[in-house]
C-alpha cells in the first residue's frame, strides 16, 4: 500500500496499478505495514475507491483481532493441519504443480522485463503477493501492458481457482470478503492487451 | 546394422520399480500413466512357491503392429531398431494404442501418444537407458544384438532360458526375459524359447 492510495481519488488509468497494489498488500504475510494501513483506515479507503471506480460491490470487512488475522493467514495459505485450502501460488492454479511450465513462463516473462525477486523474499516467485508486486513495479515503470498480462493471465486464474476456497475457509472476516472482492475486481478490469 | 535390444534377468529382478521410477523422472512421464511397469505374480501353494517379478514396457518389436496402422506416419522404426514416435506429426487418433498387443502405449494430456523409446536421447549420446543404468540388481542389459560382445548379446547367450512375451503373435520382440523363476517360463504365457 502506498499512502497516496488513501488520499487521492482513483483514476481509471490507475485501476490496474491500484488493484495490484491491493492484491500485494492482502496476500503478503500480515506485517506491520498492513497493520498500519488497516489501523489508519488507508486500506479501507483504497478498497472503497476501487469499488467506486469499477462498480464492484465493496466488501464488508473488519479487523479487530490482529493475532487472529495472523493465524488465519497461516491456516489459509501456509500450513494447516486440515490441509491448506488455498496455496498462494499461481503456477499451482494453472498447472496443478509447483515450478511447472506456467511458473517457468512467468519467470521468463519477468526476466524479460527486468523484474527480479528480491533477496529477502524467501518464497516462490509465483506467490500471489509477489506476482502482484511485480505488476505494481511494471505499472510504475509505465509498462501497464506487462502489468496487465500478469493480472489477466496469472493472477486471475488463481482467484478463479482459489477464491471460493478462501471464502469458505476464512474465519477472520478479512480474507474471505477481500478475496471475493478482488476476484470480482480482477475479472472486471479489462486490460485489452494482445496475447 | 544395429539392432538395439534389452534383456531383463528375472532371476535377479526383485520388482523394486527403480527402473519404472527412473523412467518417470527421466522422461517426465506424467502421473497416471507409465512407460514401464511391474507385474508381480505368485504361483504355487505354501510352502512350494514361486514369485515372478516382471517389468513390462514397449518391446520394440521387429515386426511392430503399431507402426503400419498410423495414418500420419508418425510411428516409425529407427535404423537402430528403436520404435519411435514423431510427436509433431501425432494427431492423437489412438490407432497405435489399440494395435499394440502389449498395452505399451498411452495418451498424454498434451494430446499425443507416448511410450518407452529406450531413452533414445541417452542412447544417442552413448549412455544406457535410465532404467538400465539405475537397476540396483543389475538385471537389465542393453545393446546391439548384431554385436556379439554387447552386454545384451552376452547376457542372452549365457542365459539358462530366454523368453519373449507372447511369441505366437509374430511381433518378434526385442525385449527378452532371461531365466524365468518358474520352470515353465513366463507366468501367464505359453512360454517359448529363442
Amino acid at each position: 500500500m502506498t499512502r497516496d492510495a488513501a488520499t487521492r481519488p482513483v483514476e481509471p488509468a490507475d485501476v490496474v496499478e491500484q488493484a495490484l497494489q491491493l492484491v500485494a498488500a492482502t496476500y503478503r504475510s500480515p506485517d506491520a505495514a498492513l497493520r498500519a494501513d488497516l489501523d489508519s483506515g488507508a486500506f479501507a479507503t483504497a478498497v472503497a475507491e476501487l469499488a467506486a471506480a469499477t462498480g464492484v460491490a465493496a466488501p464488508v470487512f473488519q479487523v479487530t483481532d490482529w493475532p487472529k488475522l495472523q493465524t488465519t493467514y497461516v491456516t489459509l495459505f501456509v500450513t494447516n493441519a486440515a490441509g491448506v485450502p488455498a496455496p498462494p501460488y499461481v503456477g499451482l492454479a494453472l498447472d496443478g504443480e509447483l515450478l511447472g511450465p506456467s511458473a517457468e513462463a512467468l519467470k521468463r516473462f519477468l526476466a524479460h522485463h527486468g523484474v527480479e525477486t528480491a533477496a529477502g523474499w524467501h518464497d516462490l516467485a509465483d506467490h500471489v503477493a509477489a506476482v502482484a508486486e511485480a505488476g505494481v513495479l511494471l505499472a510504475e515503470a509505465g509498462r501497464d501492458d506487462a502489468a496487465c498480462v500478469l493480472l489477466e493471465r496469472f493472477l486471475s486464474p488463481w482467484f478463479q481457482r482459489y477464491a471460493p476456497e478462501v471464502v469458505a475457509a476464512d474465519d477472520s472476516g478479512f480474507y474471505g470478503p477481500l478475496t471475493e472482492f478482488l476476484g470480482s475486481l480482477l475479472s472486471e478490469v479489462s486490460c485489452e492487451t494482445a496475447a | 546394422m544395429t539392432r538395439l535390444a534389452m534383456a531383463i534377468d528375472l532371476a535377479s529382478c526383485v520388482g523394486c520399480a527403480a527402473c519404472s521410477i527412473a523412467c518417470k523422472m527421466e522422461n517426465e512421464v506424467p502421473l497416471g500413466v507409465n512407460r514401464l511397469w511391474i507385474r508381480n505374480t505368485t504361483v504355487g501353494t505354501f510352502p512350494n512357491l514361486t514369485v515372478e517379478h516382471r517389468p513390462e514396457q514397449c518391446l520394440h518389436c521387429e515386426n511392430p503392429p503399431c507402426v503400419p496402422v498410423c495414418p500420419t506416419g508418425c510411428c516409425f522404426v529407427r535404423d537402430d531398431g528403436i520404435v519411435d514416435i514423431d510427436v509433431k506429426k501425432c494427431i492423437g487418433c489412438s490407432a497405435c494404442i489399440a494395435a499394440c498387443p502389449y498395452d505399451a502405449r498411452h495418451m498424454l494430456p498434451q494430446g499425443y501418444v507416448s511410450k518407452c523409446d529406450f531413452c533414445k536421447h541417452r542412447v544417442d549420446e552413448g549412455r544406457m537407458p535410465a532404467c538400465v543404468e539405475t537397476c540396483p540388481t543389475l538385471c537389465r542389459t542393453f545393446g546391439d544384438l548384431d554385436d556379439p560382445n554387447s552386454p545384451v548379446s552376452i547376457a542372452i547367450r549365457e542365459a539358462r532360458r530366454v523368453d519373449v512375451l507372447r511369441p505366437g503373435l509374430g511381433t518378434e520382440p526385442n525385449l527378452y526375459y532371461l531365466n524365468t523363476p518358474a520352470a515353465f517360463g513366463l507366468v501367464g504365457e505359453t512360454g517359448g524359447t529363442l
Binding site: P87, A130 | A22
Partner: protein
C-alpha cells in the same frame, strides 16, 4: 521484487510467442542443465548422487560410478524422492503455536527465525532454571541428528538425547556386537558379498528393503552362484530367490541358531583353527549348546530336524565363505533379541568368517579431523545405526539419562524417555526437540506419546513435512531438503572407506534452513557460541577438508574421496594391530562382562511371549519404494505403492470368510483399531501371523496424498517388551484380529490428488 533495466522491452520475449507456456521440450533438451554432487537423504544409506537442475528445479538424480554406495545406480526411493522438495504441502516458514491454543489443535502464526530461536532459547533456559538442563530431551533421525541428537545436547548439557535408530532398530545387534567383537556393526552392514558362496538370511528383507548397494551386492552374489537360504515366516522377496525357504514359527529364531551351533560343534564342523586363534569361551559354548539339538529346535521352530542339520552341514562345507548376514532392524520380540544377535554372530564365528573373505569384513570410518572446538561438557550416548551404542558418560557433572537402570546397555532408549515426561520420574523431562523423528509412526504406544507431549513446557519439531506429530509442536522449524542445503561431510565406514559431500542443487525454495545453521544459531542464543566457532557451513567444511589436504572446492568437482580399507584380519596383522576391541582382545563367545553383570554369558533361548487365541502376531516390514513413514506424501512413490495391505494366509482368510482385496479393520489386543485396510490374501505367509508394510496409515489431512491410506503398524503397537540387555523395544509382541465390514475408502487416484484436485 526489484525492477531492473529493460523498461523499453517489447511485451513478450523474442522467439517466445506464447508467454503462458514454457518452451516445449523435455528438460534434457534445454541448454540450462547443470549438475551438482550430493548424497541421497531419502533413506539414510546415503548413496552418492548427481542432481541435474534445469529451470530452477531438480529434474533427475543419478548415481555416479566413483561413489562406492551408488556405483552409478539408485534405488526407487532415491530416484523418486526428488518430488518431495516440490511438494506443495511442505513446511515453508518457522511457525509458533498461538498462545493459549491446545497442543494438537494446529493454530499457528508465522515467525521470523530470530523470533523462533529467541522463543526456544527463553523456554529452554526457563526449564534449565526450574528442572536442570537434563530436562530437555533431544530426539533425532537423519543427517542433522549429529547436531540435534549429539552436539547441541552435549553443549547444552542433556544426556537425554536419543535416536529411534537405536532402541527401535539396531540396538540388539549393536550391543551384541560390542560385547562379542568389541566393535559395532557399521551403518553399512559389512558383509563381504563379493566373496561369499553361501548366504543365510534370517528375517532380512533384501529386495523389499532396497538399501541400494546391499541389493546390488546380493544380486551379484546370487548371479555368481552363491546359494541362498531364507528363514522367514513369510515368503519374502528374498525368499523368492532362495534355494531353501524355512518358514519358521515367529519368535523362535534363537532356537534355530542355537541348534545350528549345536550341529557345528557336535559334528566337529566348526573352524577349529580360527576358533582357537581368535576366540575365547568355545569350551563353555560347546557344553552350553549340547542341549540345543536339532530335534529340540524342530519342536519349537517347526522346521524339521533334518533340514536344520542339512543346512548346518552345507554352511560348514562352504565355510569360511558362508555367511549369516546381520540385518538392521533387530528389535523383534524383546527379551530374546540381544541373544538372537549373539547367537547369529557365534554361528558366523564357528564358520570362521568374521574378518575373513566371504564373511564379515572390518570397516572404519575415514579420518577427517573435527573442526577445532572446545570439549563439550557432555557426550550423550545417543548411538546411531553406525554403532557407538556403548558410549559411556564418564565424569559428567550432569545427572545420568532418565532411562538409566531400566536395562543394561548404555545407549539411550528413545521410548524410555516418554515415561519421565508423564511421571516426572526419575526426574521430569519438560522440553523436547524432535529432529526428523516421526513421534507417532516410530515410537510404540502412540496415545502415551500424545499424553506426554501435552505435559511438556516446550516442544520443538524440525521437519520437512507437516507430519501429524509436527502439528503438535510449540515451534516448528522447517528444514531445507537435501537438495537445498549443505550438510556435514559423510564419513562412511566401508570396505573402502570414503568421504562424500552434499552441495545444494539450488537455494531453498522457502524460508527454510539446514540443521547445521539451526544448531549454530540456537547455540549462540543459548550462550554456547564458543562451541560453534565456525563462520558458516562452507568455512566449516573447507577447514575440515583441509586436514586431509583437500578443500570444499575440490570436492565440488569430485563428489567422493575413496580411501583404502583394512577389511580382513590379515590386513591388521600385517600392521601388528588387533581389530578386536574386547577386554580379552579376542572374540568373546563367552562374555565375562555379562557374567559379572549377572546376565547370561552365553546366548539363551527365551520362549516366545504368546498372544490371545484367535489373534495373529503382527509382523511388519518394508516397501521397496518407501522409507519409514517419510515418503508417503510423495506422489511418484505413492503411485508406485499407494496403500499397504494386511497379508493373511489363504486358509485363515477362507476360515474368516475374507476375500482378497476386501477392506477390513485391524483390531489389536487392546482394542485399538486401524484401517480400513485391504486384505492381501496369499499363500506367502504362515497361519499364525499377519504382516503389514510399515509407514502407511497417516492421519493428517495436510498430507493430502498420505492421509488415510492403509493401516499403521505403529498405532497397533500399544505394548512392547524391553530387551533387558540392549534397551531395545520388542515390537512384534502385538496381536491383531481382522474385522470384516470395513467400508471401501475409495481413495482417489494419486495422480488426481497430486494435481491438487483434492483441495476443492
Amino acid at each position: 521484487m526489484a525492477l531492473g533495466g529493460s523498461a523499453q522491452a517489447q511485451l513478450f520475449p523474442d522467439g517466445f510467442p506464447n508467454p503462458f507456456r514454457a518452451p516445449p521440450g523435455k528438460w534434457f533438451t534445454k541448454d540450462d542443465v547443470t549438475t551438482s554432487y550430493n548424497y541421497c537423504e531419502i533413506c539414510f544409506w546415503k548413496c552418492g548422487i548427481q542432481a541435474s537442475v534445469q529451470g530452477g528445479k531438480v529434474r533427475k538424480v543419478d548415481g555416479y560410478e566413483s561413489n562406492p554406495k551408488s556405483r552409478g545406480m539408485l534405488c526407487p526411493r532415491g530416484q523418486g524422492g526428488v518430488a518431495t522438495t516440490y511438494d506443495p504441502d511442505r513446511l515453508k516458514k518457522p511457525l509458533i503455536r498461538v498462545e493459549g491454543s491446545e497442543r494438537g489443535s494446529g493454530q499457528y502464526r508465522e515467525a521470523s527465525w530470530d523470533e523462533a530461536y529467541d522463543y526456544i532459547a527463553e523456554k529452554m533456559n526457563q526449564i534449565k532454571f526450574e528442572h536442570g538442563s537434563e530436562s530437555v530431551a533431544f530426539f533425532g533421525h537423519g543427517t542433522g541428528d549429529a547436531w540435534f541428537a549429539s552436539y547441541l545436547p552435549g553443549a547444552w548439557g542433556s544426556p537425554n538425547a536419543a535416536k529411534p535408530s537405536v532402541s527401535l532398530c539396531t540396538g540388539p545387534r549393536e550391543t551384541a556386537s560390542q560385547y562379542t567383537f568389541g566393535r559395532g556393526i557399521s551403518g553399512h552392514e559389512q558383509i563381504d558379498w563379493d566373496e561369499t558362496d553361501y548366504i543365510v538370511l534370517i528375517g532380512h528383507h533384501i529386495g523389499e528393503d532396497t538399501h541400494n548397494t546391499q541389493l546390488q551386492d546380493f544380486a551379484l552374489a546370487l548371479k555368481r552362484g552363491a546359494k541362498l537360504v531364507v528363514v522367514d515366516p513369510r515368503f519374502s522377496v528374498a525368499a523368492s530367490k532362495a534355494n531353501d525357504w524355512l518358514p519358521i514359527k515367529p519368535a523362535t529364531d534363537t532356537a534355530l541358531l542355537l541348534a545350528w551351533a549345536n550341529v557345528l560343534v557336535e559334528e566337529g564342523l566348526y573352524d577349529a583353527e580360527y576358533v582357537d586363534k581368535y576366540t575365547v569361551g568355545f569350551e563353555q559354548l560347546a557344553a552350553h549348546v549340547a542341549q540345543y539339538t536339532p530335534e529340540w529346535a524342530a519342536e519349537i521352530t517347526e522346521i524339521p530336524a533334518d533340514t536344520i542339520r542339512r543346512i548346518a552341514r552345507e554352511m560348514a562345507a562352504h565355510a569360511p565363505r558362508a555367511v549369516l548376514p546381520v540385518n538392521r532392524h533387530t528389535v523383534w520380540y524383546g527379551p530374546d533379541d540381544m541373544h538372537r544377535m549373539r547367537s547369529l554372530y557365534i554361528v558366523n564365528v564357528l564358520l570362521g568368517n568374521y574378518g575373513m573373505p566371504g564373511g564379515y569384513y572390518f570397516c572404519d570410518a575415514p579420518v577427517v579431523e573435527a573442526y577445532p572446538h572446545p570439549a563439550l561438557p557432555l557426550s550423550p550416548a545417543s548411538g546411531g545405526c553406525g554403532g557407538g551404542s556403548t558410549d559411556v558418560v564418564t565424569d559428567s557433572p550432569f545427572r545420568p539419562a532418565a532411562d538409566r537402570g531400566k536395562f543394561f546397555g548404555t545407549a539411550t532408549a528413545v521410548q524410555e524417555l516418554i515415561e519421565p515426561m508423564l511421571t516426572g520420574e526419575p526426574y521430569p523431562i519438560k522440553g523436547l526437540f524432535s529432529y526428523g523423528v516421526n513421534l507417532f509412526h516410530s515410537i510404540p504406544m502412540v496415545e502415551r506419546t500424545k499424553q506426554a507431549l501435552k505435559e511438556l513446557d516446550l516442544y520443538v519439531a524440525i521437519d520437512i513435512l507437516p507430519m501429524e506429530h509436527v502439528m503438535w509442536a510449540d515451534v516448528i522449524l522447517p528444514e531445507s531438503t537435501y537438495l537445498e542445503r549443505y550438510d556435514d561431510l559423510l564419513l562412511q565406514a566401508y570396505k573402502t572407506p570414503f568421504i562424500s559431500a552434499r552441495f545444494p542443487a539450488h537455494p531453498p525454495l522457502y524460508d527454510t534452513r539446514g540443521a547445521f545453521d539451526m544448531a549454530k544459531q540456537l547455540g549462540e542464543r543459548l550462550g554456547l557460541g564458543e562451541y560453534f566457532p565456525w563462520e558458516n557451513v562452507e568455512e566449516y567444511l573447507d577447514r575440515r577438508l583441509s586436514s586431509i589436504g583437500s578443500s570444499l572446492e575440490a570436492l565440488k568437482d569430485q563428489g567422493t574421496i575413496v580411501r583404502r580399507g583394512r577389511p580382513y584380519f590379515a590386513d591388521w596383522e600385517r600392521l601388528n594391530r588387533n581389530p578386536i576391541g574386547t577386554p580379552s582382545g579376542k572374540i568373546e563367545i563367552y562374555s565375562e562382562r555379562f557374567a559379572e553383570a549377572g546376565l547370561d554369558p552365553l546366548p539363551v533361548f527365551v520362549p516366545p511371549i504368546e498372544g490371545p487365541s484367535g489373534m495373529y502376531r503382527l509382523l511388519y516390514g518394508r516397501s521397496p519404494v518407501h522409507t519409514f513413514a517419510r515418503t508417503h506424501n510423495n506422489p511418484i512413490l505413492m503411485e508406485a505403492h499407494g496403500e499397504n495391505g494386511v497379508w493373511i494366509s489363504t486358509s485363515e482368510a477362507a476360515g474368516l470368510g475374507i476375500r482378497h482385496n476386501e477392506y477390513v479393520y485391524l483390531e489389536n489386543q487392546d482394542g485399538v483399531r486401524e484401517g480400513p485396510v485391504r486384505a492381501y490374501v496369499t499363500e506367502r505367509i504362515r497361519n499364525d501371523c499377519v504382516y503389514l508394510v510399515h509407514g502407511f496409515g497417516h492421519k493428517t489431512p495436510l498430507m493430502r496424498i498420505a492421509n488415510g491410506r492403509g493401516a499403521s503398524d505403529n498405532y497397533l503397537q500399544t505394548r512392547y517388551d524391553l530387551d533387558p540387555v540392549s534397551g531395545g523395544a520388542g515390537l512384534r509382541n502385538n496381536w491383531v484380529k481382522l474385522v470384516k465390514g470395513a467400508p471401501d475408502p475409495q481413495h482417489p487416484p494419486v495422480a488426481w490428488l497430486a494435481r491438487e484436485g483434492s483441495r476443492a
